[in-house]
Assembly symmetry: C2
Amino acid sequence: MTSNDQTFLQDLRLRWNKLQLLLNEQNADACLIVTGVNLYYTTGAIYTGYFYLPVEGEPHLFIRRPAGISHPQISYLKKAEQLPDLLKEKGFTLPQKLLLETDELTYNEVMRLCSIFGDIQYGNATSVLRHARMTKTPWEIGQFRISAQKQAQAYKKIKDCYRPGMTDIEFQYEFEKECRALGSLGIFRGFGSSMDIFMGSILTGENAETPSPYDFALGGGGLHPSIPIGANGSLIRKGTTVMVDVAGNFTAYISDMTRVFSLGTLPYIAFKAHNAALSIQEQMFKSARPGRSCADIYNEAYALVEQEGLSAYFMGTIQQAKFVGHGIGLQINELPVFTPRSKEFLSPNMVFAFEPKFVIPKVGAVGVENSFLVTEDGIEKLTLFEEEIIPLD
Amino acid sequence: MTSNDQTFLQDLRLRWNKLQLLLNEQNADACLIVTGVNLYYTTGAIYTGYFYLPVEGEPHLFIRRPAGISHPQISYLKKAEQLPDLLKEKGFTLPQKLLLETDELTYNEVMRLCSIFGDIQYGNATSVLRHARMTKTPWEIGQFRISAQKQAQAYKKIKDCYRPGMTDIEFQYEFEKECRALGSLGIFRGFGSSMDIFMGSILTGENAETPSPYDFALGGGGLHPSIPIGANGSLIRKGTTVMVDVAGNFTAYISDMTRVFSLGTLPYIAFKAHNAALSIQEQMFKSARPGRSCADIYNEAYALVEQEGLSAYFMGTIQQAKFVGHGIGLQINELPVFTPRSKEFLSPNMVFAFEPKFVIPKVGAVGVENSFLVTEDGIEKLTLFEEEIIPLD
């Protein structure tokens, strides 16, 4: 919003218009946006503040921090209680129905805002925002292309990160540094409270079977009980795989890609399952286009898994994830989701990660993950890097 | 809770007892804990689940994930709606007053739980947990000692991370790798939505003045508008400082330490302000003991800042933080806080970070931060490492 780049401002307007259409559908007069991720979506920056978007006309941003900004559509405030007076000052009629981010703000934050705006109708801004964010604008798609390209560049360095005798975590922090050197922002965001992760996951050998409390595709014990996911300090041993699923957070839009590496000779079942994952991806790639049901895509993937007799290994063993793909964006788990009961249908400008994976006991994880853009008549793969199992030795 | 270590189990019981006393004070029958950080506090692990602690007697944990756990105090459930029946099965009387984490769970999560438990009284479990967590148990203090010792070991490597011509971020990812190699868990937790950060902050030169939307002691522009904090890619130049404030997350308990490095010759004002910070720390160290007001400690620090004529530089320039210290623990911003209007008083087994800092325009940040344990009759410094400005060249 403080940027003077006209293309970017036009892109922001596309997002405001998309949200305003959804506000109108909800008979809402306005939404008030408070969370960092949604402020970034609607303004292009992070603030401690409140973005007020009416169903028609121009939005206004009320901020506490950072200091020192001067812009006609930005005003300073000290506390949320000033919002009604400030809105009136700026010429807004106070809303009769206001949407708040009720799946993201805490109970007490929402109660405070409700006490400020009083006895009016309230609705859920989170679902509106998640719906709007499900399809991406041209600028957002451009950001994905940058992330995906840099992620592929980073993945080229993985082989060089390996030295014999390494543990999974030693391998991981070598690769983390390569990612940072290429401009990885480090942190990335997830929606909801069911995931904590640091940059991504590297799984080798038996650790790939360890169930996690989190809602990721695969688990792993992690380094410590306080962050039970991914690498657990296992030695990378001959006859095992190393699955690398480290986020492409080179812009705020996260590309998602997984590749499998191996040490020594793998058993036949590992290659069979890996090839099944590639076939599932191929089948999805051929059929995915606007209008296709995400549930159908899951079910077709699962049918191929069953046909190959691999269900016991699909998306884990002891604990199996019930999805094979998910939308990506400012958060790693956006809409749509590819589950047996998903209600979404593909439409142009959605961006999603598709990740058929198998866990082979004592060997490790195999499979593939790529990021795809839904086009007018099909899909385009954004994360381009070799997909066979890559030997480390 | 699944650990068989008797010392650890005894320590968990201390925490349950502390919480039960607070539940009793609130006339509450029970609290239901859902967030990862509070589940780790009460059980020693992370689950997707619900920890039910009655005001008297034994708690029970109901989990969805991870799979494969067998323990007399743990049951599996599929959804929260089963909780009342499962509680009755386990012999609990359903609560008449139940505390929920209303400053941490989303509005919709709390509303769902309220619809499950029906028309009873509800209260705030977050404030009870933050109060309980403010003083640490023997096991928790042991974890801090491990974190602080490893953090000091990591800080010894900082000088070796520097090579002439480096930018702040190049310097940072060299140091990040050293931290990871020493066992840094990577992610660490903050309370509330006013902070996003990746491992910590490195500030050099003019970037130290850049105001941030977040609630950290100092700002910095960051690498990208989506994460506006810390290093921004500035070249480390002669005549400037480099302030390193990277978290000691070597256990789930985060020690906090800041040190200042320099390149070339600094102006007199930088040393004057740095020495003032050390004097403020010394003054605090002499007076801090159980019973002391945290507001008084802030005000005494600020009096010394004014006496030295350094108020314009204290805790920032364009934007100045209004605190000089904060509790640490499983989150980087626990209680107590050291602000002009803080209501807390020191008591034994509190652990806090004290961070008098100054920003000198065009030079960078100076000052110091250490982690302290409140003992029976004073305080003990946990983060032991030289405190003068350390030349990189």
